[in-house]
């Protein structure tokens, strides 16, 4: 007698469905009644909900909470972001006083140096729904610290120090301050450097890999190194006589991405595209049996806003974006998905007219989908429309916007209006947008912006196709006066953090402003 799938018990069918990804689960749900019923089990619902929210399950911190409870929290978390329903402000006093933030991660953490008695303070921004406690670590700095990079998910903090000939990265465990137990060579990565490079620092961490960028007068050097084995996966030089590397990050676990601005051109009238993104693979694929990483295809994406336009200068700002934290929480954002946000200032030729500022937000899946679709294309110059299904979003700079920040797939800005400070959060996550569109109900306050054609004073910009979810809220009235004209603003995994600066230190160009108050609004 032939065996039929329905002769299996629900328990076995559930075990099979749990292996599938959420798309397959949804497809399965539509096959027949029996499978449809089984897909409504809580564990599968949690899985589908996680995927639809762009989150991953935080296994290591989740022992204390069972799945139905976590599913509830996840739904609440998603709703809280849609409506920007945050708790009353939480003061984070550990990083106030004379300390000043020299490094802020758009996540759960800050690093602070006290200039009189050098210490670093790492503060997690607490979240009730994700179960992140308010934790901070404080360590004395043992030597002249040059730069610092943190990855909470791996309990890793990297201090970088350098002399004239040696660049030294010290890998510590965040929770103890001791050398990281998994790190190569007792936690010290050393590399001799040439005096041609004036700046060395870690730019990103992704799993086992760290990405360092050495900036030099004539060349920039990108290095990808495995911090657990010490093995160097990639060393790539880029000529900096005519270009400047702005930001460089991991795109995924196989590619790095960096943006380059062309700073000089022999013929000003042909200053064509001046910003480009380069995607370079750093690991040989498993399938490739011969050849090295250097032979692998790299990709160049030219910024398409400018071709044949009267532009003589432009610049990109920091991507202001890095791997989302995967701290011990019940669930966390998928670190693969993030927004690359570029602001470009376009100056008309011969300085006629006023410079215009544009913000271009590009989700990383736009790059990855392109790469997946064209595995063999060589240094292709790709039109804007071909950047994958999601494209990018271009907006004109708004003078009322006083602070911007990006975290994961969300971007946020604070603008000052007559009635006070307004916070706007844009969510670019394709699944969250798709679901909001499918389940839009009247009165739930969901606003979806579709890509629109933008007319500018000088030239028509490319039409954009990237839709996003918009949520807006007024910040408390007292904040506007309390924070003063200049303040720090950071979008986090769980909300926002606002930092009040000591006005006396704001105007000194070189000094980092001292912080007198830190407020967090989180879910």
């Amino acid at each position: 007698m032939p065996m039929h799938i329905f002769m299996l018990s629900d328990e076995i069918l559930l075990a099979i469905l749990e292996i599938l990804d959420y798309k397959a689960v949804l497809a399965c749900q539509a096959t027949c009644r029996r499978l449809n019923t089984i897909t409504y089990s809580t564990s599968l619902q949690y899985k589908v909900e996680l995927a639809a929210c762009g989150m991953l399950d935080g296994r290591h911190g989740s022992q204390t909470l069972d799945i139905p409870e976590r599913l509830e929290r996840l739904k609440e978390y998603n709703a809280a972001w849609r409506k920007l329903e945050w708790t009353a402000d939480i003061q984070l006093p550990h990083i106030c006083g004379n300390d000043s933030v020299t490094y802020g991660e758009p996540s759960l953490l800050f690093l602070v140096h006290n200039m009189d008695r050098p210490t670093s303070v790492f503060q997690e921004v607490p979240s009730k729904l994700r179960g992140v406690p308010e934790v901070h670590h404080r360590y004395p700095l043992e030597y002249g610290n040059y730069s610092t990079f943190v990855d909470i998910s791996q309990d890793l903090v990297i201090y970088t120090d350098r002399s004239l000939t040696l660049c030294q990265h010290s890998l510590r465990a965040l929770s103890t301050g001791e050398p990281h137990p998994l790190a190569w060579n007792q936690g010290i990565l050393e590399r001799s450097v040439s005096e041609l490079y004036f700046d060395q620092r870690i730019n990103d961490i992704f799993g086992d890999y760290v990405l360092a960028l050495d900036r030099g007068r004539d060349t920039d050097l990108y290095i990808v190194q495995n911090w657990k084995t010490g093995f160097i996966e990639l060393e790539k030089h880029a000529n900096t006589r005519v270009t400047r590397t702005d930001v460089c990050r991991f795109l995924d676990d196989k590619h790095i991405i960096f943006s380059v601005t062309t700073i000089t051109s022999l013929n000003l009238s042909d200053s064509e595209p001046t910003i480009s993104f380069h995607v370079v693979p750093f690991r040989r694929s498993k399938e490739a049996t011969s050849g090295s990483v250097a032979d692998a295809v790299s990709y160049v994406f030219h910024f398409p806003v400018f071709p044949n336009r009267p532009v003589v200068s432009s610049n990109t700002s920091e991507f202001s974006c890095r791997t989302s934290p995967t701290s011990p929480a019940y669930f966390y954002s998928d670190p693969h998905n993030r927004i690359f946000s570029v602001s470009a200032i376009l100056t008309p030729k011969r300085r006629r007219g006023t410079p215009e500022k544009y913000i271009v937000d590009i989700p990383s899946p736009s790059f990855t989908s392109y790469i997946q679709r064209h595995p063999t294309s060589q240094l292709a110059v790709v039109p804007w429309e071909d950047w994958g299904p999601q494209g990018a979003r271009v907006t004109r700079g708004d003078p009322s916007v006083i602070a911007r920040s990006v975290c994961g797939m969300r971007g946020a800005y604070v603008s000052r209006h007559a009635e006070g400070l307004v916070l706007t959060v844009l969510d670019y996550h394709p699944l969250r947008v798709a679901r909001a569109l499918a389940h839009r109900q009247d009165g739930d306050g969901t606003v979806v912006l579709n890509g629109a054609h933008i007319e500018t004073g000088l030239w028509p910009l490319s039409t954009t196709t990237l839709p996003c979810l918009v949520a807006e809220t007024r910040l408390p009235d007292s904040l506007s006066e309390d924070l003063g004209p200049v303040f720090g603003f950071q979008l986090c995994e769980d909300g926002i953090v606002l930092m009040k600066y000591d006005p006396a230190t704001v105007d000194q160009d070189l000094a980092v402003p001292s912080i007198t108050k830190v407020l967090a609004y989180t879910v």
């Binding site: 032939p2 065996m3 039929h4 799938i5 329905f6 002769m7 299996l8 018990s9 328990e11 076995i12 075990a15 099979i16 469905l17 749990e18 292996i19 599938l20 990804d21 959420y22 397959a24 949804l26 497809a27 399965c28 749900q29 539509a30 096959t31 027949c32 009644r33 029996r34 499978l35 449809n36 589908v48 909900e49 995927a51 639809a52 399950d57 296994r59 699944l431 798709a434 679901r435 499918a438 389940h439």
Partner: protein, 173 residues
Amino acid sequence: MPTIVSVDDSTVPGEGSSRLLLLVSSDNKHIVVEEDIMSRSRFISKQVEGFEATSQRHAILLPFSSFVLNKVIEYCSHYRGYYLLEDDPDAAPPGRSPVREWDQEFLDVDRNMLLRIIKAAHYLEIKSLVGSCARAIADMIRGKTTEEMREILGVENDFTPEEEHSPSSKCTG
């Protein structure tokens, strides 16, 4: 009159130090197998504990054919003496069972057989084998459309037209 079948040479009675079990399949084949091979099965282990308590050993009747039973015994013999996390009743269940290459080859059988093996493995409470079978079945339908899934799994669309267009059957897209 039942036929007595020994599994293979390594399990000839008296050769190993382990005690022997008599398993009887649904097609009434008697299969003699060493106890420690089958200790991976929680079901068999519980039976053996029962024998120890009552000091009486008897044949264990199983509700599936000798063909399937031999396949399960082959699996258990391969992993004899190996520690597999999923089969440890005291260990926390792993989030996701690992991919084992040997299992993939072992389970390269038709759908009918695969379903029989997973059912038997579930009856015998061999979690690692249930996990590997579930993975193999999941691989068959991964990345397929709903229509293709129906064909592969051999199920009928039994929704009413209204149900098919309700949002709950295609919720998050």
